[in-house]
């Protein structure tokens, strides 16, 4: 009885259990990120000099734009149930991760890692955890994509909304992280 009812689409978010579940999950992940961000902020002054000297704000801004744009493409994909726009989202997300990876490679080659100094510890932890969440999002996007390869509209509409919500969340976290970590070095 409950199983047949549970994935029914409904216009109001609060009536849909799946979306409420995703929203609550996002709320709890927000608490998690808040704790890590607060730790970063608490230790920011000690690591500020290293941050200013080593972070490339402009380059990271470009990759960030890819991530922000991917939220836009995801919104369109969600509205139109389009695999093409979904693919665009995945590509933009992958570009962001590649950019993060190249930033990590550059820093590590300069001897800045999680074990080097306080800045390294907090920077790699915060951005690394975000990156893991982006990766998980890419996996969810890929799952959504492949679910549509076999049969058209095989997945309920709510799956699009759920994945979309999660992707916007991951994006919003990056707005905070980018501001605190990167733009914070310009202040």
């Amino acid at each position: 009885m409950s199983r047949a009812v549970s994935l029914e689409r409904s216009p109001r978010i609060v009536e849909d259990r799946v979306l409420l579940g995703v929203v609550i999950f996002i709320a709890s992940e927000s608490v998690f990120f808040l704790a890590i961000v607060l730790a970063y902020v608490a230790y920011r002054d000690a690591g500020l000099a290293t941050a200013k000297a080593n972070l490339d704000v402009g380059r990271t801004a470009i990759f960030s734009i890819a991530l922000f744009a991917s939220s836009g493409t995801m919104a369109i994909a969600g509205r139109t149930r389009s695999r093409a726009w979904l693919a665009a989202t995945m590509i933009l997300g992958a570009i962001f991760l590649a950019g993060q990876g190249s930033e990590y490679a550059r820093l590590l080659s300069e001897g800045i890692g999680p074990g080097s100094a306080l800045f390294g510890t907090t920077f790699f932890t915060l951005t690394g955890l975000h990156g893991i969440h982006v990766l998980a999002g890419l996996v969810a996007l890929a799952a959504l994509f492949t679910a549509h390869l076999g049969r058209a509209r095989a997945v309920g509409a709510v799956a699009w909304d759920a994945v979309s919500l999660y992707w916007h969340f991951v994006d919003a976290v990056w707005v905070v992280v980018f501001s605190v970590v990167y733009i914070g070095t310009l202040l």
């Binding site: 549970s6 579940g21 609550i24 709890s28 230790y43 080097s116 510890t121």
Partner: protein
């Protein structure tokens, strides 16, 4: 009748094994089974500790073993026994109480159980893999950093707690969505049983608190395995950051442990007083107040850390404030009994025992909110006494009340009342004998987490009495296990509604069918079954 518990037999159409079940009732039983098993393990650890401490300068157990034992005892009782027991009862009863066929996400429900269990197994695996963690259940940095805890024990602690915590978080999402969106027609949120209210509030607490623990665990892992400096003063970090993060989780955690038990006795007392709960609105509302406040009191675990008088005063104030909604519930329960017709069944005995013991634990807790008193007795056996009065005298007695109350619904058989009385009185005596003297020991100067103490301190006699109490508690638990196993095989058949109760779970069979109800009931008040049985005296709300 049959030797096999009734809830093992399933209809032919749904023949999945226990390992693959997604039915909330069976998952509830799995959680409860996990809780019972780990409670036994935690109890054995406690007996080891008490045996070693019975006499001064004893050599029963070496310090390393002792330190591992008290660390694992704390984690076991809190995260692997009490929480699974409460979540198990919530899983079983909440859908029934709100007239729902299952929880919102049955497969996620199974996942959350298995994650909780695996987390516990990972922790215990450490005993075989080089040693269990030995830094205390709250594992303060820098003692828990690689430099001072070079073995793998703390890493198993991190992994075990993270996996267990993930299970609990997922379970909380499930219960919250279930309560918010799956209530049967007529069951407004202001009409749900108080156990359901408490489960909802507890879920919110879990969702706000556990992620902070996860964050702390991740940071400790980065420090230990990647050379990080989050809690390493030599590298610019601060030891106190761990404490802030841990207690931001740790304090809501104690309300996570106590609120559902308060919900249980809020079901038991009205039924066995033949009266509705007094002040439903205040009891429900006070739990919401506790939820908010519990995120603002964490540093009362850190009064002696040196945060400064201003911070200490603020947290002292909030800690006193939270005592109010916690304490007035006691008045509500007593007022429920006044004017009633009390049937002192075992469930009711344990519910009353909860109140009696929680008052003591609550008062010692308020004394700890008074900063100068805390500075004198924190980190001593006074705190050990306090925490056991609220978590054993409180929560565990509440869980026993729920067990005696709901065992017939879950199995179709009653637990023996005769054995139940022995269980209760042995528990009551043993518990008080164990923990009452510890208030004095703490005030006299005995710190926590000591594997022994000098004979010259004079702490021997009270410690000895405390250990005798622990032995009596062990006997009480044996009586309970005997009751449990005997009643599962040959207990008196219970029928649908052996207690003449008020709420929806009693309107279906014992145990309930897979879909819970033959038809979804409509509800017009807080006591739907009472209304059905007494249409001329139905509740107004």
């Amino acid at each position: 009748m049959t030797a096999i518990p009734l809830w093992v037999r399933r209809p032919a159409a749904e023949r999945v094994g226990w390992l693959r079940t997604v039915d909330h009732k069976e998952i509830g039983v799995l959680y409860i089974g996990m809780g019972v098993a780990f409670f036994a393990l935690g109890g054995l650890e406690a007996l080891l500790l008490r045996a070693q401490l019975a006499t001064p300068e004893a050599t029963l157990v070496d310090p390393e073993t002792f330190n591992q034992a008290f660390t694992v005892h704390g984690v076991t009782m809190i995260l692997l026994a009490v929480v699974p027991l409460l979540v198990g009862f919530a899983n079983y009863m909440v859908p029934l109480m709100i007239g729902a066929p299952d929880v919102a996400f049955p497969r996620l429900n199974a996942l959350s159980f298995w994650l909780s269990l695996v987390g516990g197994i990972v922790l215990y695996f450490s005993f075989l893999a080089g040693g269990a963690p030995d830094t205390g259940w709250f594992s303060y940095a820098p003692l828990s950093e690689r430099a001072f805890a070079p073995g793998t024990g703390v890493d198993y602690y991190i992994l075990g707690l993270a996996v267990n915590g993930a299970g609990t978080i997922i379970g909380a999402i499930n219960l919250a969505v279930t309560i918010l969106l799956m209530r049967c027609p007529g069951m407004a949120i202001s009409r749900v049983p108080l156990f359901v209210w408490m489960t909802l509030v507890t879920s919110v607490l879990i969702l706000g608190a556990y992620p902070a623990l996860t964050a702390a665990l991740v940071m400790l892992l980065v420090d230990r395995q990647l050379g990080g400096h989050f809690f390493d003063p030599a590298g610019g970090g601060q030891a106190v950051l761990w404490q802030h993060l841990f207690w931001f989780f740790g304090h809501p955690e104690v309300y996570i442990m106590v609120l559902p038990a308060m919900g249980m006795i809020s079901e038991v007392i009205p039924v066995f007083s033949r009266k509705p709960i007094f002040g439903y609105g205040f009891v429900a509302g006070s739990s919401v107040a506790i939820a908010f406040l519990s995120f603002g009191v964490w540093a009362h675990h850190m009064f002696a850390v040196g945060l400064g008088d201003t911070e200490n005063a603020i947290f002292g104030a909030t800690s006193m404030l939270i005592a109010i909604p916690t304490g007035v519930k006691v008045f509500n329960w007593i007022a429920t009994m006044v004017g009633g017709r009390l049937r002192m069944t075992t469930a009711m005995l344990f519910a009353v025992g909860f109140i009696a013991m929680f008052v003591i634990g609550g008062l010692s807790g308020v004394s700890l909110a008074v900063v100068p008193i805390d500075l004198a007795v924190t980190d001593s056996y006074y705190v050990v006494a306090h925490l056991h009065y609220v978590l054993f005298g409180g929560t565990m007695l509440g869980i026993f009340a729920g067990a005696y109350y709901w065992f017939p619904k879950m199995t179709g058989r009653l637990l023996s009342e005769r054995l139940g009385r022995w269980h209760f009185w042995l528990t009551f005596a043993g518990f008080n004998l164990t923990f009452l003297p510890q208030h004095w020991l703490g005030a006299a100067g005995m710190p926590r987490r000591v594997f022994t103490y000098a004979a010259s301190t004079g702490w021997g006699p009270l410690n000895f009495i405390s250990t005798i109490g622990a032995a009596i508690l062990a006997v009480a638990m044996v009586v309970f296990f005997v009751n449990l196993f005997r009643s599962l095989r040959s207990g008196e058949i219970a029928g649908d509604d052996p207690w003449d109760a008020f709420t929806l779970e009693w309107s279906t069979t014992s145990p309930p069918p897979p879909e819970n109800f033959a038809s979804i009931p409509a509800v017009t008040g807080r006591r739907p079954l009472w209304d059905r049985k007494h249409p001329e005296a139905r509740d107004k709300r």
